[in-house]
């Protein structure tokens, strides 16, 4: 039974100020039996295979061409499947994975410093504040080693030591050095590696690439995902594509906040449309606010720029002890008047504590009036990231070699020289841990619909550790889906459904209807202005600190804004041309619905965990206070209609290999 037909009970929750129904759909993770370290091997042997000669009879549709999408598309093509790959950008090489700076984790233990598969697994579960699924995370840690080998073989120019060996650096939430990197452009180099493999398969006619093509719906036939409907962003043509399985590799939804470190085009449309067709959307409230971004400078700003977490290896974070000093230039604040608050509060991890903790600590000092930099909106929202000591200890050349491009980027944006004065940083929305619910196969609750990379929910719990996103995207694409998809396809007849099926015409008609509706409003207000207004609601009420009353208010504000959108949005131009206003309006329309679900999820989770900080639930020291008795589950929200609240299904999370504990980085 798929979620689309799932019965929901009338039982309502008791703890949320807004009543949502509970679903009786069982979210079965299909975790293989046996000891943790043998599950994946056992799975690979037990799962069904598709004979090499038969693979060419199957067509797989891959949506998105980032690390997850490009690696999945190329690898499935190498195996012999026919693949169509879709991206909204003009080239698959531009997917937003390209912007990841710092690195990729792998349990290689090249540094002989005590790393292991189990330690990477442990760090990831703990870093995720015990809200991720053990079996998936263990598999991720296990495959992490193969990813590095694969990328080296592709010609990814990882940083090397003088002896020719691969270099490592440290990232937050770990006490070992396991992060591989290519200057500050690791995501770019890994993506270009995956893109090169994809290009090779395009040349071999095993992948048909569709650029400037946006997926606007999933097509279900007898409860199985059998295709998608897209809009050609150049011609405006709405088209159907049939396949035997659909892979959504469409990234995260951080742009619901308007300002984030995401690319302008990043959106929730693909996964949200899948949700509206019955896929469970899991933990949408788990968002990551990255601690080291360049602060906001003004109200025309369109995006926030990340400064890699790797900078925390050599930079020290501080603010003045007294708010009176905040307006002074940093070089006039003596050492004993500075508060190195991360080193003070978390002596064992110091500046390398996990992202959620570092971000909240920055918010606390700025809320106390000890922030630095220009006054924006009445407050100074910034803390110093200071390299003076590292430059003195190691020399400018060493620092330049490691972070040169990041320092240059900072100087370009701010017109300040970080070699001379400390950087100013502040947290910004960066990554979303929530996403479509998937089982161990990376399959959603809709058979044939798979979800990979940031777009799914499975591996990072309530907080993602640095250098783990690249690892997950590539793990899913190179080393997981090639096995798990066979288990599904072996039970299907390749090419059984074509785009002539009536379900495609119906879905096309829905998509055309939405496009027409957007163009028909002809109001006064631009799509961007609605997006900005939504972003402000989300950041104020569902950002770094959340309260029940604030979230209730946010839901009401979002509904009002959505009402105004459909009365007053101005979408210029027509549907049959290259129309940037129409593209943006469609994405904003989905964010305006999705934002409400995020707030509902945040409201229902009466605990604090990782990136989800409910101010009512904190320890005396201001740390996140989890409630494992009531909330040790993955939430899966199921669509019931535009005028109804979604229903909640739960996947209980069992911790059999790591003891649940209060996180401590002290």
């Amino acid at each position: 039974m798929t979620a689309a037909t799932a019965e929901t009970t009338q039982k309502t929750s008791t703890k949320s100020p807004i009543d949502y129904p509970l679903s009786d759909l069982k979210l079965d993770a299909k975790i293989p039996s046996g000891p943790l370290d043998q599950k994946w091997e056992k799975y690979k042997f037990d799962t069904k295979l598709v004979n090499p000669a038969n693979k060419r009879k199957y067509t797989v549709l891959v949506v998105g061409s980032g690390l997850a999408g490009a690696s999945a598309a190329s690898t499935l093509a190498e195996l012999g499947y026919n693949v169509h790959c879709f991206c909204f950008q003009d080239s698959p090489r531009r997917a937003h994975s390209i912007a990841a700076q710092g690195g990729i984790n792998a349990a290689k233990n090249y540094q002989n410093d005590g790393d292991s598969v189990f330690r990477l697994f442990y760090d990831t579960i703990k870093g995720g504040d015990f809200r991720a699924r053990e079996a998936n995370v263990y598999r991720l840690a296990l495959n992490s080693r193969n990813i590095i080998d694969q990328c080296v073989a592709q010609g990814v120019p990882f940083a090397r030591e003088y002896g020719g060996q691969l270099a490592n650096r440290s990232f937050g939430g770990a006490q070992v050095s396991r992060t591989f990197y290519a200057r500050g452009q690791t995501g770019q180099q890994l993506l270009l590696g995956a893109y090169s493999s994809l290009s090779r398969m395009i040349e071999a006619n095993k992948v048909k690439m569709h650029t400037r093509t946006e997926m606007l719906d999933v097509v279900l036939v007898d409860g199985h995902a059998k295709g998608i409907v897209t809009r050609d962003l150049v011609s405006g043509a709405v088209e159907s594509w049939a396949g035997d399985a659909v892979l959504l590799c469409t990234g995260g939804y951080g742009n619901v906040f308007y300002l984030s470190t995401n690319a302008q085009g990043c959106n929730v449309t693909a996964t949200y449309r899948a949700y509206k067709r019955g896929a469970a959307f899991s933990n949408p409230c788990y968002t990551q606010i990255h601690p080291t971004c360049i602060p906001v400078h003004g109200d025309q700003q369109s995006k926030l720029t990340l400064m890699s977490e790797s900078l925390r290896n050599d930079g020290r974070i501080w603010v003045p002890k007294k708010s009176d000093d905040c307006a002074k230039p940093p070089d006039q604040i003596p050492e004993d008047a500075r508060d190195y608050y991360l080193e003070r509060r978390y002596p064992s991890y110091g500046n390398l504590c996990p992202r959620d903790i570092a971000s909240r600590a920055a918010k606390v000092v700025c809320d106390e009036g000890r922030g630095v930099g220009p006054v924006v909106g009445g407050v100074r929202l910034g803390v110093y990231l200071d390299f003076k000591k590292s430059i003195a200890d190691k020399g400018k050349a060493d620092i330049e070699g490691k972070y040169g491009n990041l320092f240059d980027m900072y100087a370009k944006i701010t017109a300040e020289d970080p070699y001379k004065s400390p950087m100013r940083i502040y947290p910004a929305v960066h990554y979303t841990m929530g996403g479509l619910w998937v089982d161990y196969n990376l399959q959603t609750n809709i058979p044939g619909l798979f979800c990979l990379g940031e777009a799914n929910f499975s591996d990072h719990g309530a907080n993602r550790l640095g250098a783990s996103a690249l690892m997950q995207g590539l793990c899913d694409g190179y080393f997981v889906i090639p096995y798990t998809i066979g288990g599904y396809l072996a039970g299907q007849t390749g090419g059984a459904v074509t785009a002539e099926h009536g379900a495609f015409k119906e879905t096309e008609s829905d998509v055309n209807g939405r496009v027409k509706r957007l163009l028909a409003v002809k109001g006064k207000r631009s799509p961007r202005s609605f997006h900005k207004a939504l972003g402000k609601i989300m950041w104020d009420r569902c950002g770094m600190g959340r309260t029940a009353s604030g979230l209730v208010q946010a839901i009401s504000d979002i509904r009002a804004l959505r009402g105004e959108f459909w009365d007053n949005v101005q979408v210029t131009g027509t549907g049959d041309t290259f129309n940037v206003a129409l593209e943006m309006a469609g994405r904003v329309a989905d964010f305006l619905e999705f934002g409400e679900m995020m707030c509902l999820d945040a409201l229902h989770r009466n605990e604090s965990c990782g990136g989800h900080f409910r101010e009512e639930y904190q320890t005396e020291e201001g740390e996140a206070l989890r409630n494992d008795d009531d909330y040790a589950y993955a939430a899966g929200w199921l669509y019931r209609g535009d005028d109804k609240l979604p229903a909640l299904a739960k996947e209980p999370l069992a911790f059999e290999n790591i003891k649940l504990s209060q996180r401590s980085y002290k």
Binding site: P157, R183, Q188, L304, V376, K412, A428, T572, F578
Partner: protein, 261 residues
């Protein structure tokens, strides 16, 4: 993270823009004049265009189409010819990272798309750069499948070679090199990929054939030949050095002489 009040470190600017508008690849294009008002020096060039577009939409007019995505200088999507310079006046900088502090109040700014036969205009300032993808498809890779790769430390690679490879690998595929070149040559782009892989042992088995195939594809796509103007190097936002072109040509020549494929 919306902020309430603007914070600007200088006087707000007013600029007169001459922008290329073209409905689609088949239509004739022309310049239109727009005023950009109230521009903060801290805004990026694309944020300045956002302001102009918001004004156009408020008047019920279609916004100016331009390619952009990451807005942090790495995706390679943005692609504007600003006063005759690819990515504008600031060296080693993409359009999205060009800030308005490089302009003065009252400036005239001419904004055009990349001009090259191999990059046809799609709309306004948006061009079709899929020819670059087809060059990579012709050979810009190491021919290996996923799985079965040896341990990453099996082959030591000297730091010097790894750094030379990385210098070339930082190409973002924006096409500024082509736009800046009087011959619309793609040699810096081709050379960057050839150089990245020839400096690594993993790329060396296909080193010569790769350069041959990519250059032949570039010819077929309608890019011109390199005539050593080096405008490409000056325009490249990632400052890819000209030596990559010599390396690419060397491999091409070896391939044509030895026919080792």
């Amino acid at each position: 993270m919306p902020a309430d009040g603007a914070n600007t470190h200088g006087k707000l600017l007013t600029l007169t823009l001459q922008v290329w508008r073209q409905r689609d690849s088949k239509s004739e294009g022309k310049f239109e004049t727009y005023q950009a008002k109230g521009i903060s020096p801290d805004q990026s060039f694309l944020e300045m265009l956002d302001v102009v577009n918001e004004d156009l939409i408020a008047k019920g007019l279609e916004p100016i189409a331009f390619d952009h995505d990451c807005r942090e200088g790495i995706c390679g999507a943005c692609s504007l010819m600003i006063n005759g310079e690819a990515h504008g006046p600031d060296r080693g900088t993409t359009t999205c990272q060009l800030h308005m502090r490089h302009f003065s109040d009252g400036d005239d700014v001419v904004i055009e798309p990349w001009r090259a036969a191999a990059f046809p205009v799609i709309r306004d300032l948006v061009v079709d750069r899929t020819a670059f993808d087809r060059i990579i498809q012709a050979g810009g890779y190491v021919s290996i499948n996923a799985g079965g790769a040896p341990d990453g430390n099996t082959l030591p690679i000297s730091k010097k070679e790894a750094d030379l490879s990385m210098d070339a690998a930082s190409c973002i595929g924006c096409g500024a090199c082509v736009a800046a070149c009087p011959n619309a040559s793609a040699m810096l782009f081709v050379g960057a990929k050839a150089s990245q892989l020839r400096h690594l042992p993993q790329g060396q088995p296909e080193q010569h054939k790769r350069a041959l195939n990519m250059l032949n594809r570039a010819d077929k796509e309608g890019f011109g030949s390199c005539r050593n103007h080096f405008e490409c190097e000056a325009a490249c936002p990632k400052e890819i050095p000209r030596r990559v072109m010599a390396e690419g040509y060397r491999d091409y020549v070896v391939a044509t002489l030895t026919r080792d494929d």
